[in-house]
Amino acid sequence: MCLGIPGEVIEILADRPDLAKVDVSGVKRAINIGLLEGESVAPGDWVLIHVGFALSKIDEAEAKAAMEFLESIGKAYEDEMAALAASRIEE
């Protein structure tokens, strides 16, 4: 449960520090960041948005690690496929 979308914080509203304006692919909405009280939220941070609230900050380091894992798998696969293709050619 379920529909959470990543969005980039572009502004913390000055008169309402519990609200932040986020950008999702060019679309902007004010969301409530009250559930992230205690964490610092600043423009440039990415958050997970669900029904108008930020549930969690996206950890860019973890995201990077996730992508690196996927890339390594992808690369290993590509290498394997290339090797497979090459071996066919030799036959």
């Binding site: 449960m1 379920c2 529909l3 969005g7 999702v24 692919s25 679309v27 902007k28």
Partner: protein, 357 residues
């Protein structure tokens, strides 16, 4: 595939082919959304009562023979709220929508009627604005509004202003455009990015508090369609993608022509903001209304020529080939996901609903 699953799927297909029946006692919003509920209503209530061979094809316009002339006739009512939105207003829709229904039938649009139902208390300044838009849209499309009517209803009804327009156009050329001409091997083209109008309206209602740089795509398509038809004789059918979106058109084609339609997700043009808003709300742009886009089924070997012709015109600058027609699995629309899997694209029952799950 396991036999038992296939048996169930076959049973479902038989069920889906049964004649439509309206089960509800009252009209609900789903009946107006262009999806399954709308189709059932049209077939079970209107077609049932009016049943005649000119109505039966249920195309965007009826094709009539009057003396030696071949005419296309269509009507549409416009009840959009809000009346004024980024990119246009109800007046633009009222002209463009009817012009487009004629244009996709292969007709040259000529004359429009317009009927107004106005709510008591509606500002005349707003009416003037709407009518000015209609005049500008008519000029742009090269049509004339030649007759009309006005009714006023009590405060609380008509949401400010409802408009109906009917349009007549002349059919030239020998080609019989229509869904029955769609055949395996055809290419499916779309004239531009999808979903802009519907998402603009959803955001303009203000309840979602979402800001985006989106405007309605409302536009008269007769110009770009004329160029398409001049460039190639391979166009088999065209439909403008209004309520129900592109997905609904594809399903109509698949069912009415008894073919399957296969589209590639990667090939479907969608603006980033439409994607962003749709992801945020949990809706699928394939089902979101456009008001200035059409879908065309074109003979496979003419697809390239068709695309070139479309792209030469400002309203077709981002046209794309999004899929093809096949002969197996009649009635089905399949989508090859960007991801490499395949799924079906069914018609929705009613409007696409924002979801949280």
């Amino acid at each position: 595939m396991i036999d038992r699953e296939q048996q169930v799927l076959d049973r479902i297909e038989r069920q889906r082919r049964r004649p439509a029946k309206v089960r509800e006692e009252r009209i609900t919003l789903s009946h107006g959304s262009g999806g399954k509920a709308s189709h059932t209503l049209v077939e079970a209530v209107f077609l049932e009562a009016f049943g005649n061979p000119l109505l039966a094809p249920l195309e965007d316009a009826a094709r009539l023979r009057v003396g030696d002339a071949r005419l296309a006739l269509t009507t549409d009512s416009y009840v959009v709220s809000p009346l004024f939105f980024p990119g246009g207003d109800i007046g633009d829709l009222a002209v463009n929508g009817t012009v487009n229904d004629l244009a996709v039938s292969g007709a040259t649009p000529l004359y429009l009627t317009c009927g107004f139902i106005l709510e008591e208390g509606f500002p005349i300044a707003d009416l003037t604005r709407i009518v000015a838009s209609m005049r500008a849209a008519a000029d742009r499309a090269g049509v004339m509004i030649v007759t009309g009517d006005t009714k006023v209803v009590q405060r609380g009804k008509a949401d400010g202003c409802y408009v109906n327009t009917a349009g007549i156009g002349i059919l030239e050329g020998s080609a019989e455009l229509g869904v029955s001409a769609v055949q395996p091997g055809d290419a499916i083209l779309v004239s531009g990015p999808i979903g802009e109008h519907g998402v603009t309206i959803m955001l303009a209602r203000g309840e979602l508090d979402i800001e985006a740089d989106l405007v309605s795509d409302t536009a008269p398509l007769n110009g770009v369609i004329a160029e398409l038809l001049a460039a190639t004789s391979g166009v088999h059918a065209m439909r403008d993608a209004t309520r129900g979106g592109v997905a609904t058109i594809l399903n109509e084609m698949a069912v009415d022509a008894q073919v399957s339609v296969i589209v590639d997700e990667d090939a479907i043009p969608v603006k980033a903001e439409v994607r962003g808003a749709s992801e945020l709300l949990g809706i699928d742009p394939l089902y979101v209304a456009c008001e200035g886009r059409f879908v065309a089924a074109v003979a496979g070997d003419q697809a390239a020529a068709a695309l070139t012709a479309l792209r030469k015109h400002p309203l077709g600058a981002e046209a794309a080939v999004i899929g093809r027609v096949a002969g197996d699995q009649p009635g089905m629309v399949l989508l090859n996901t960007a991801f490499g899997g395949t799924r079906i694209v069914d018609m929705l029952v009613g409007d696409p609903l924002p979801r949280i799950c």
